[in-house]
């Protein structure tokens, strides 16, 4: 089970974090959470899809890395083969927890494989005086952005639903080895409906800051064919 503790510059003075991208370090995932404020960076490399949580009915956004559970086509020979690494992958083993007063605070997952043991190489989280290193500062910024972005994303999806812009999406992917994958259960933004929005609706989306991420999410879909090509390359060499 997870073992989450509050990050503490005294207790964790010597904490070191293992860098690199491997399945063993937790990167073997077919998708990770992203948020509308991050779409601009994500859309350059990864398809952005939406998924509805059947329990709560709420939507969230995902950056797609592969076509089946556990498949991350951007993990290549222990390194991250893309120009951008999504926040949700760059922050572990740190995470946002909640203090008793409801304030967000930084927690550390003590069971996470990124925590370096003696003898492992790793990036220090605190310097010898107990000050956060630039690495940890960057993690703090990422945690904060993801946390705030996630809280704000409810408004984004409410606006997309208001104008009926979310469309169920399924995709058949034919691979060179003759197999077919079918992605189902996702949603995307209906480009035709977005383009056809009346001026009042566009103004509403624009004023609330939802218009740009909506177009970014649409732009991201051109990465699907690149992702299929990645998969086919892997099949070819495997």
């Amino acid at each position: 089970m997870s073992n989450h503790v509050i990050l503490d510059s005294e207790a964790h003075r010597d904490l070191r974090i293992r860098a690199g991208a491997t399945a063993a370090l937790g990167d073997g995932v077919m998708a990770c959470l992203t948020v509308p404020t991050e779409f601009r960076r994500v859309q350059n490399e990864f398809p952005i899809l939406f998924r509805r949580d059947m329990e709560r009915g709420a939507f969230s956004s995902l950056a797609l890395f592969g076509f089946e559970n556990g498949e991350n086509l951007f993990v290549e020979a222990d390194s991250w083969d893309a120009r951008y690494r999504p926040l949700a992958l760059s922050i572990p083993p740190f995470l946002i927890g909640q203090a008793a007063d409801g304030q967000a605070q930084v927690h550390l997952d003590m069971g996470h494989p990124r925590i370096a043991s003696e003898g492992d190489e790793g990036i220090r989280a605190f310097d010898e005086h107990g000050r956060p290193t630039p690495y940890l500062e960057a993690v703090f910024a990422g945690l904060d952005e993801l946390d705030q972005g996630y809280r704000a994303s409810g408004e984004f999806f409410a606006a997309l639903e208001r104008y009926d812009l979310l469309e169920p999406f399924s995709l058949d992917i034919d691979l060179r080895d003759g197999s077919t994958h079918r992605l189902v259960g996702y949603h995307l933004i209906d480009e035709g409906r977005l383009q056809a929005l009346e001026p009042g609706a566009v103004a509403d989306l624009h004023e609330a800051g939802h218009l740009m991420p909506a177009f970014m999410a649409i732009a991201s879909l051109s990465n699907i064919s690149a992702l299929v090509a990645r998969k086919n390359r892997r099949l070819g060499s495997g």
């Binding site: 949580d53 059947m54 329990e55 709560r56 009915g57 409410a158 639903e161 208001r162 104008y163 169920p168 399924s170 058949d172 079918r182 189902v184 259960g185 009346e198 001026p199 009042g200 609706a201 103004a203 509403d204």
Partner: protein, 342 residues
Amino acid sequence: MADAATAAPSPIPSVAEEAIGLADLDGRLTDARVPFVVRGLVAGWPLVKAGLESAAAARAYLLGHRRDRAFTVNIGEPGAGDRLFYDGSMGMNFRTGRAPLAEIFAGIEANENRRDAPAIYLSSIDVKGYFEGLHEANHVDLGGRDPIESIWIGTRTRIAAHNDFPSNLACCAVGRRRFTLFPPDQFANLYLGPIDHTPAGRPVSMVDLRQPDFGAHPRFREALRTAQVAELGPGDAVFVPSMWWHHVESLDPFNVLVNYWWRDTPAYLGQPEDALNHAILAIRDLPPTERTLWRQLFDHYVFEGAAPGMAHIPEGARGILDPLDAEAAGRIRANLLRSLSR
């Protein structure tokens, strides 16, 4: 204009009234199985107060909260009366268009005193999607339920009896409305029309409640014996339980209703009407012997409920034969999507 009650063999009894306030509603709705009326439930809404001042004041209030987008509106033929229904050749006797709310309201106002005024009806408009701040100032708190909140705006209209799967709390905000209710099991006595070609998304009774043709629809007498009527004024509300049939008349030159739909079962479950459509697709046209077998299988797997009769499969290995959770429901959904998109 003929009254619904005069067309019936005997007067239709009234829906029971309950004297409860907004604070008690949540508890009262839990396990509610039969209709009830609450007088004055939403009498405090600014929208209700504006409507009591005048129809124009209610329209101005709504316009003050509208979002800048086109509204979908149904418009009947001038002089064709208030019934929005099929025409003689099973087309619709109204057309559907989209226009800014101010334009639609101007049309209602211009026609207000004309004898041949067309029926104008905005049905099931999403409150938060089409208005800003209207929900905040005019809503009923339904506790932990996450209802669909819709507003219905129009002139004198009459909507044939139909039903909905979700439970329904309908709040009459402006004008008077009459709901004539029939229990869920009355479907055969209501002579339902097509299920895939309907005036507003749900199959409707082909019987004209105001002038029933008992020659063509003899069993409708049976339905009438089970009917109840709720006469609502501004601020009054009626609870329509899941699957109860309701014939709805808007009785004033300008009427507004706000309603709430919710399901008491988990949101991850599917829609029963999807299952019905799929069964028509997959089973109804099979040879009778095969159909009979499927009826038995449906009884076994669906209508007798989860778990009983599954003792021969070890616990933990029953998959979707166990009561569903969100994860298992998601798997069924994904498998159905996969197989249907083939």
